[in-house]
């Protein structure tokens, strides 16, 4: 049996006994076989000594049990690492940031406490997955949509706390932004409710976010200041119709007005569905079709197209552009989607076309005009998450296919946020492709398009492979850190990352002599003086480990 670092075997044994008393002995795990469930399946340290491994795990089924566990951990200084369902693949899985921690596994806390159709919100516990919530809504025939990521097996709370995103409309895609109200077990075992939940018998906990006074919800995301045991989310009323359209433009420089106009029509709520950028000429797929391309193969290129494509620099050459115009292959294609009453989405599409028509040569097409809800038999014709339907088809992206004969063993997501401009897309490609080439990293090898999860920024989400070869993994880990630093030098930062990179990422947020990290440390010392909760998460270390661990 492993023992957490800095804890005597005797104290650990006492703590385990108390944990067992709180949750029942069958929900305390210490064997290697059981703890394997908490290894990061995509660990960049796969099978190396530095892999983050848990010493134990304890799985409570109620908030009261979480409070008991936290109090015991304080008594014996046991480092805990809270997870909900612990997926988070590519960002660390369920492995602790501080190796040797005891995983506080919340997946048995799986109650859907309320789904309110009339005001479109839900209140759930951390073990509720998108599949669970979707199933509940379907079984109860409630006319609300969830917004789920790819894949849909994760925890609704866990994904929001890690600031994940989805694919429906702008006000629901940002999962942390769409939450309303939290219940949190503080490191001392006290129970806190945020927002209107601060009022006993609150009537509007899931209906008004901020309550009165400082709004503290943000400090419980990507952090280690508390264990979130309930969280409210706003849901989307089921729309009547869905319209999916494309705007195609012919020239390289059209990227700039295309993005500028997208920003206007999205920020004006003329369109609000997930916008998706594609380059047919550069064979860069839209996010929503990556899995389809992997299943059926990418569109074929003619020999001439292939030659011009390979010769282009930063995705451009005059010859390639002329070829595209001549062959009616758009340089850029923007996918827009609209949700609402049929007459409203039709009007929105007309208004959007009016704005995009300022780009010479812009062409418009309707791809899908669908009455909702979808016929279940039709669901797999679409990218399910764009209809609020959880799915695992995204795993076809990493699957072995004729077009992907040697899939990797996993990946770590490189995901910097950049400005939402065409110029930034080109500049980021210039900077990252040069750095990746020098570092021998398999990223930005061809012109890469960002995703539009967030309304006012772009995000690149690029999979850096994890292999079974430690030397290759080491090369990629070091390269990954360099790319983070290169991004930082240009004012770009990651939105989320695996524990092994969290210190490097947070070091990029260095304004005013790292005041942000120092503030985080001040909070940590005040809220969790014994440093028992999720040590090291996003580089927030308790005082006794600060500067000693990474």
């Amino acid at each position: 049996m492993r023992t957490p670092p800095g804890v005597s075997p005797e104290d650990y044994a006492r703590a385990l006994t108390e944990f067992a008393g709180a949750v029942g002995p069958e929900w305390v795990f210490t064997s290697d076989a059981d703890l394997d469930l908490y290894r990061d399946a995509y660990s960049p340290f796969m099978n190396e000594p530095e892999e983050r491994i848990a010493s134990g795990a304890v799985a409570p089924s109620s908030t009261e049990q979480v409070q008991q566990i936290v109090r015991t951990a304080n008594r014996y200084r046991i480092p805990l690492y809270a997870i909900s369902t612990g997926k988070n693949l590519g960002y660390g899985g369920s492995a602790p940031a501080y190796s040797g921690s005891v995983v506080l596994d919340l997946k048995r806390m799986n109650r859907i406490i309320e789904v309110n159709e009339a005001n479109a919100f839900a209140l759930v516990e951390p073990g509720v997955s998108y599949f669970d919530l979707y199933r509940y809504i379907q079984e109860h025939k409630l006319k609300v949509w969830i917004d789920c990521p790819d894949p849909g097996w994760g925890s609704v709370i866990g994904n929001a706390l890690d600031r994940g995103g989805g694919y429906t409309t702008a006000n629901y895609r940002n999962h942390f932004d769409s939450h309303c109200g939290m219940e949190v077990v503080l490191p001392n075992g006290e129970l806190l409710r945020t927002g209107m939940g601060g009022i006993p018998n609150a009537q509007t906990w899931q209906q008004y976010k901020s309550g009165c006074g400082p709004w503290i919800d943000g400090i419980f995301s990507q952090s280690n200041y508390g264990v979130v045991t309930k969280m409210g989310f706003w849901l989307m009323p089921q729309p009547e119709a869905y319209l999916r359209c494309t705007v195609s433009v012919p020239r390289y420089q059209d990227l700039m007005p295309l993005v500028e106009t997208l920003n206007f029509v999205e920020n004006s709520r003329i369109t609000s569905g997930f916008p998706d950028l594609e380059s047919p000429l550069l064979r860069a797929p839209p996010v929503g079709q990556v899995q389809l391309w992997n299943e059926t193969g990418p569109p074929q290129m003619s020999a001439e197209h292939q030659r011009l494509f390979k010769a282009a620099e930063l995705g451009y050459s005059r010859e390639l552009e002329a070829f595209g115009v001549r062959s009616a292959i758009p340089y850029w294609k923007l996918w827009l989607s609209f949700h609402g009453p049929a007459e409203v989405v039709a009007a929105q599409w007309r208004a959007a076309q009016r704005h995009f028509a300022r780009i010479a040569g812009a062409k418009f097409a309707i791809v899908d005009d669908v009455k909702l809800p979808l016929d279940p038999a039709q669901v797999t014709h679409y990218h399910e998450p764009e209809f609020g339907i959880p799915s695992l088809r995204v795993f076809s992206i990493g699957a072995r296919t004729p077009w992907n004969p040697t899939p990797s063993k996993g990946h770590m997501w490189f995901s910097p946020i950049i400005p939402r401009t065409g110029e930034a897309i080109i500049e980021a490609n210039r900077v990252f492709s040069a750095a990746a080439r020098e570092l021998k990293m398999p990223l930005f090898a061809t012109f890469t398009l960002p995703a539009c999860f967030w309304e006012r920024s772009f995000i690149f989400i690029l999979a850096t492979p994890v292999t079974e070869d430690p030397a290759t993994n080491k090369l990629y880990r070091e390269g990954f850190k360099k790319l983070i630093e290169v991004g930082g030098q240009h004012g770009w930062g990651e939105y989320r990352t695996a524990p092994v990179f969290q210190q490097t990422v947070m070091d990029v947020y260095s304004f005013n002599n790292q005041v942000l990290q120092r503030f985080h440390a001040t909070l940590k010392d005040a809220i969790d003086p014994n440093g028992i909760l999720s040590a090291g998460r996003y580089a927030i270390w308790p005082k006794h480990l600060r500067g000693k661990s990474s």
Binding site: S31, R135, W153, P390, F395, A399
Partner: protein, 144 residues
Amino acid sequence: MDTGKETNARFLSRRDVVEGLLLGVGGVILVPGGVAAADATAWDFRPGRQLVVVDTRFEVGRKFAAAAAGSGWIAREFSGDVTPLWHDLLDSTWHQHAMIHGLTTADSYFCLQQLVADRFWRTTSLAPEGELVRWAMSPAVAVA
């Protein structure tokens, strides 16, 4: 408004099912590969109400399903994407079984293994079988 209901996820304690296990002790049992891919007689279908899931895109999967069903096992078929298999079947019925067996691609195995981990199940045997993998999963069992 609809309040106070629980999800379908029901957690068995590890002790609930120990007696039903066939391969329940210790870590993952790595079964040597090389079983003739299409030779269903080489598979050991022990008696009992076992659940087996197979990817029927592959001939060996279809044969495996037929052989399992012939032995009284409950065979559930899917075609590549495990989403409907999980959502429509396994997630609501898995707790009726002491063990789930499968003959799937490695990618589908990975997804199912991650999903059953949410119910505190884990892999108890795993073996390559041609281009597929044959596996069994059961509730986590304490290993003292």
